[in-house]
């Protein structure tokens, strides 16, 4: 669905390349997370793929069509939700959806159903100017989904959402992927990426520093070991962690088995890395 090979781009009058030879592909039915600090080249790559930015070298194609030749047919296959939702403020949520949807060919979803699903049914006939940031973000997602795109570009889709709405958004994205859409998700929210993505790529200074499934990355950048967690001796004190036990030969490790027999067992933790820690390790930057 999405194919990027040797992609390079330099902004006019800039000294350094914004994108420096990026390779990746996103298959139908896959949710691909594009992660990285601000200025890493995520938005530039997305703009190129959306056909909004020309003058690149390498390959950037959606459904086999090069982005530099993006036309109405190309854009009709794509749904996009930008980080900052933009709507006609004087029109209602429903009027906005109907207007934008009318420019896409083919079958569409019933806006009422999507509005209901994302908790906007009651606000559908209110002007967008009266919406909160979270409501605009949800409307933003509906606009990207309503024409049933084959490829979805989502930029921080859970930004400003409460946990319940963020979960609904993730569920909807997964459903669309299950129906065959390729999803390109740009985010700083590592928990959202971990929960929603089949694979993630970390972009650092215009290059992909790591790309794999979240589970594989967490194993690769973590330790192949476990610790045992037990209750603290004093009430309300912090729980106790055992020394680390390597995964290799764990079943025969007598010290580990003895640890399990001690009273107050709370659980056994693997020492996988989190995506947050991998982000920090690869970029040298804390998440904002």
């Amino acid at each position: 669905m999405i194919e990027v090979k040797g992609l390079r781009f330099t902004y006019p009058r800039a000294k350094a390349e914004a994108v420096r030879g990026v390779d990746f592909s996103v298959a139908a039915g896959e949710v691909f997370g594009f992660l990285g600090p601000s200025g890493a080249g995520k938005s530039t790559t997305q703009r190129i793929l959306l056909g909004s930015l020309g003058g690149y070298s390498g390959r950037a194609a959606v459904s086999g069509i090069e982005a530099s030749r993006a036309d109405g047919a190309y854009r009709s296959r794509v749904g996009a939700a930008f980080e900052f939702p933009c709507f006609y403020q004087k029109l209602t949520g429903r009027e906005n959806l109907e207007l934008f949807a009318s420019f896409y060919p083919g079958p569409k979803d019933d806006p009422r159903e999507l509005l209901e699903r994302l908790g906007l049914a009651e606000a559908a006939d209110r002007r967008v100017a009266e919406y909160s940031k979270g409501m605009k973000m949800r409307l933003n997602l509906i606009r990207a989904l309503i024409h049933r795109p084959r490829v979805l570009f989502l930029d921080e889709p859970t930004s400003g959402l409460d946990p319940a709405n963020a979960r609904t958004v993730r569920d909807l994205v997964r459903e669309r992927a299950a129906a065959g859409a390729a999803v390109f998700l740009t985010t700083h929210d590592m928990a959202a990426a971990d929960a929603a993505c089949d694979r993630v790529a970390f972009l650092v200074d215009g290059r992909i520093a790591a790309c794999d499934s979240p589970a594989a990355l967490k194993r690769r950048y973590g330790k192949r070991a476990v610790v045992v967690e037990r209750e603290a001796p004093e009430r309300d004190g912090p729980s106790l962690l055992s020394p680390e036990y390597p995964l290799d030969g764990l079943a025969e490790d007598e010290a580990f088995r003895a640890e399990l027999r001690k009273p107050g067992l709370l659980g056994v933790r693997t020492l996988d890395s989190s995506l947050d820690q991998i982000f920090l390790q690869l970029t040298g930057r804390e998440l904002a």
Binding site: S76, R77, C86, E95, P105, R150, A179
Partner: protein
């Protein structure tokens, strides 16, 4: 939620990319709603008709007064007044289009259209086209509402076409040069001088040449037939309009990119 087939499948590909008339109707409805919900813009569509009605009664009164006081009969120049009335809707509807484009830019909507099948240029063309079409129709109707001068549908349609192009001209001028609505009002004041361009038909050469780049002058020439043939005036009016619109579109694109 049931399983859904993504768009862009064979069925979707065989459909036309844009059902033009349906989309224009949707966009027109949206623009009308936005105008109606904006206290600054809601009355603009009616101003040309109001002006035509006021002039219908004011010009004969003023003409009588001037004839008595100065021996000047204003009613002899009713065709010039008719030309100005034909141009009014282009100016006012262009203002409204320009203010909506400023809102679009502030809200980021114009950038979003770039990732839709319509594209930025398609959307801009559709919006300006709708306002121009409305200005054309309103120009013909306002001229009828004026009721002064000699009715000549052929000339009126030509002048209304030049007036319609002014909707795109004013809309793009505002969007290209103003940062917001307040600046837009200042830009409009600067453009106010164009109202005088039709009066240049009264000037002798070579002074009249100064008005040649302005389509409003050619609309007056078309209506009066004083210095040019009507065909030449029509081509010149539409040609200068096209040149202005092309130049302003280039400026507008630079501003939004």
């Amino acid at each position: 939620m049931e399983s859904r087939e993504p768009a862009g499948t064979d069925q979707a590909r065989t459909e036309p990319i844009v059902g033009v008339s349906r989309n224009l109707a949707r966009l027109a409805a949206a623009d009308i709603r936005m105008l109606a919900r904006d206290p600054l813009l809601a009355f603009i569509p009616f101003i040309p008709f109001l002006a035509a009605f006021v002039l219908r009664f004011a010009v004969p009164l003023l003409s009588g007064f001037l004839e008595r006081a100065l021996g000047f009969r204003l009613l002899d120049w009713a065709d010039l007044v008719r030309a100005v009335v034909l141009l009014f809707p282009g100016m006012f509807y262009g203002m409204a289009a320009g203010f909506l484009l400023l809102d679009d830019r502030d809200d980021g909507v114009s950038a979003y259209w770039g990732v839709t099948p319509a594209g930025r240029a398609g959307y801009l063309g559709a919006r300006l086209g709708l306002f121009s079409a409305a200005a054309f129709l309103a120009g013909v109707l306002a001229a009828r509402a004026l009721g002064l001068g000699r009715p000549d549908l052929g000339r009126e349609l030509g002048a209304a076409a030049i007036g319609a192009a002014q909707a795109a001209f004013f809309g793009l001028f505002l969007a290209a040069f103003a940062a917001d609505k307040v600046e837009g009002l200042s830009v409009l004041k600067a453009l106010g001088g164009l109202d005088l361009a039709p009066l240049a038909v009264l000037l002798a050469l070579p002074l009249r040449i100064a008005a040649w780049p302005f389509p409003q002058y050619w609309a007056a020439e078309l209506m009066l037939g004083r210095n040019s043939r009507s065909g030449i005036a029509l081509v010149a009016g539409l040609g200068t309009s096209a040149l202005w619109i092309a130049a302003l579109y280039g400026k507008y694109r630079k501003r939004i990119e």
